[in-house]
């Protein structure tokens, strides 16, 4: 493990612990209610919001949604991107032309505005946000995987399988996919970071799932319910920091993994 992986994993572990802790609220731990917008104190270490709810409690509850949406959205987009990229890169030909155009179209469309439109059009719910992120965030992954799949096509072991008469579907699923899994997983980790940010953005402008509050939802309420006017900085600094630190942790981990990926494939790129 390199330094970046260790830092990333440590921070992410803390956040996951926080998300797990949210299941124990009310039984294992309890957060007392207090006056509206009371500043940080011994009783409410991060203060309270407009309803007198403890900010730390909301932060812990919010970590669950933020993390889960990020994780599932990234998973969804990575699976789509990897499969499309692998097929397109390996088969080339008409399929690649068509998929290439689709990838390019998705790459030039500004993703965030489109997501806002889609999220607003679909009703705001947990799964809709996951699907929107998944549907719009796959092209970069697809493009990377496609380049690798294309390289692999001329690797001796693939050539010899083709000469042996192995079917192309067999080769794609048994050999190409396992070999792009390395970059796909590095991309996945980076995508989690993006997905967390996107979810936060959508929730912030009010397109989040109201029944599953996230860190973005906290920012949304801080803005719409006058915390800014009130000067209650403790309502928006903690969720803002949580979003930044978490997405940064995934970026650091993803960069660490990508570095390892580069190291282990350097010899291969030199040869091909």
């Amino acid at each position: 493990m390199n330094k970046m992986e260790i830092i990333g994993i440590s921070i992410i572990s803390c956040i996951i612990f926080m998300a797990l802790l949210s299941f124990g609220i009310g039984s294992i731990i309890d957060f007392p209610k207090s006056k509206q917008y009371s500043p940080p104190s011994i009783q409410n270490p991060l203060g309270t919001d407009d309803l007198g709810d403890d900010i730390l409690e909301l932060l812990i509850i919010g970590s669950r949604t933020s993390l889960l949406v990020g994780f599932l959205g990234a998973l969804f987009s990575t699976i789509i991107g990897t499969i499309i990229g692998a097929l397109s890169g390996f088969f080339r030909g008409v399929l690649d032309d068509v998929l290439g155009v689709i990838i390019d179209v998705f790459l030039v469309i500004p993703a965030l505005p489109l997501m806002i439109v889609l999220a607003a059009y679909l009703s705001p719910s947990f799964w809709n946000i996951v699907i929107v992120i998944g549907l719009l965030w796959w092209p970069t992954t697809a493009r990377l995987v496609r380049a690798r799949a294309w390289q692999l096509k001329s690797a001796p072991f693939i050539e010899s399988l083709l000469a042996l008469g192995a079917s192309k579907t067999y080769i794609v699923f048994k050999h190409v996919l396992p070999n792009v899994l390395g970059i796909a997983s590095a991309r996945f980790i980076l995508s989690v970071s993006h997905a967390i940010l996107i979810e936060a953005g959508l929730s912030f402008i009010g397109l989040g799932d109201p029944t599953n509050p996230s860190w973005g939802t906290m920012l949304h309420f801080a803005m719409t319910r006058g915390a800014l006017l009130y000067g209650a900085w403790w309502t928006f600094i903690p969720p803002g920091l949580a979003i930044s630190i978490t997405s940064l942790a995934f970026i650091i981990l993803g960069m660490g993994l990508e570095q390892r990926q580069k190291l282990s494939t350097r010899s291969m790129e030199d040869i091909i």
């Binding site: 001796p156 072991f157 050539e159 083709l162 000469a163 008469g165 067999y170 070999n179 040869i271």
Partner: protein, 260 residues
């Protein structure tokens, strides 16, 4: 050891007639090459890097199509074969690629890569039979069974090259093409690998094509030799005769360079 659906034939011949290969409309890699090998023969193709040896090897085993000319196996053009005939060709003509690094899938265990060709062609009836066959071949080639439980990144170059050879041998080919099989290995290993290949050749009476740029090696392993220069065979014949009494100036310079 015998595989299912094996035609027992002695009259095996692999021939290239007037074969040319042009890469991407401009690189003439092969220029009207004629070549043939029969079962039981040891033939060497010698030439400097970039002369077209690998290209010819890949065309001979059907990996890439020639731009013009034809390849014949068992008296049949390989591009006009029926599915059945093509299957036999794919099994019975094997190629050991030049670079052992990516010769096997880096994400697969060596055992699975080793038996993969057998599984693709459903040549083995049971797991037990498969394991017995693997054990027999590994003993012959000198592969420790525990090596097969690793992936390509975790074994030495020599071990990897042995597995690649074993993979081709498992199919009991009539014709085996070894493309610079030792160029990536250190000298002490080179001799061992060459000995393994020669032993296999005589044991199963295969036709074996050695591709090399080493004339000493060619002298040692082959009966017949082809000298390739810029995509053409400039000279061919019995190895001893060609090397003792070369006619073409390129062959002469090769011999000079090799002895100095």
């Amino acid at each position: 050891m015998k595989l299912k659906n094996e035609p027992s034939r002695e009259d095996v011949e692999l021939t290239a007639i007037n074969v040319s290969k042009i890469y991407g409309n401009k690189t003439l890699a092969l220029d009207r090459v004629n070549f043939s090998i029969k079962k039981g023969e040891r033939v060497c193709i010698v030439g400097e890097s970039g002369s077209g040896k690998t290209t010819l090897a890949k065309i001979l085993c059907g990996m890439i199509p020639p731009t013009s000319g034809e390849i014949r196996f068992l008296n049949k053009r390989i591009d006009e074969m029926s599915e059945m005939e093509r299957r036999i060709f794919r099994i019975k003509v094997q190629y050991i690629p030049q670079l052992p690094d990516l010769a096997l899938d880096p994400t697969w265990y060596l055992y699975d890569s080793l038996v993969e060709p057998l599984r693709i062609h459903k040549l083995i009836a049971s797991k037990q039979e498969e394991r017995d066959l693997v054990r027999e071949i590994c003993e012959m080639i000198g592969i420790r069974m525990e090596v097969l439980m690793r992936k390509p990144g975790n074994v030495s170059g020599g071990e990897l090259q042995r597995v690649v050879i074993a993979r081709a041998i498992l199919l009991m080919p009539y014709i085996l093409i070894a493309d610079e099989p030792t160029s990536m290995l250190d000298p002490s290993l080179q001799a061992k690998i060459i000995k393994i290949l020669l032993d296999i050749q005589s044991k199963y009476n295969m036709g074996m094509i050695f591709i090399t740029h080493d004339l000493e090696l060619a002298k040692y392993v082959s009966n017949r030799i082809f000298i390739m220069f810029k995509g053409k065979f400039v000279e061919s014949g019995l190895t001893n005769e060609v090397l003792i009494n070369p006619h073409h100036s390129y062959t002469k310079s090769l011999i000079l360079n090799n002895t100095s």
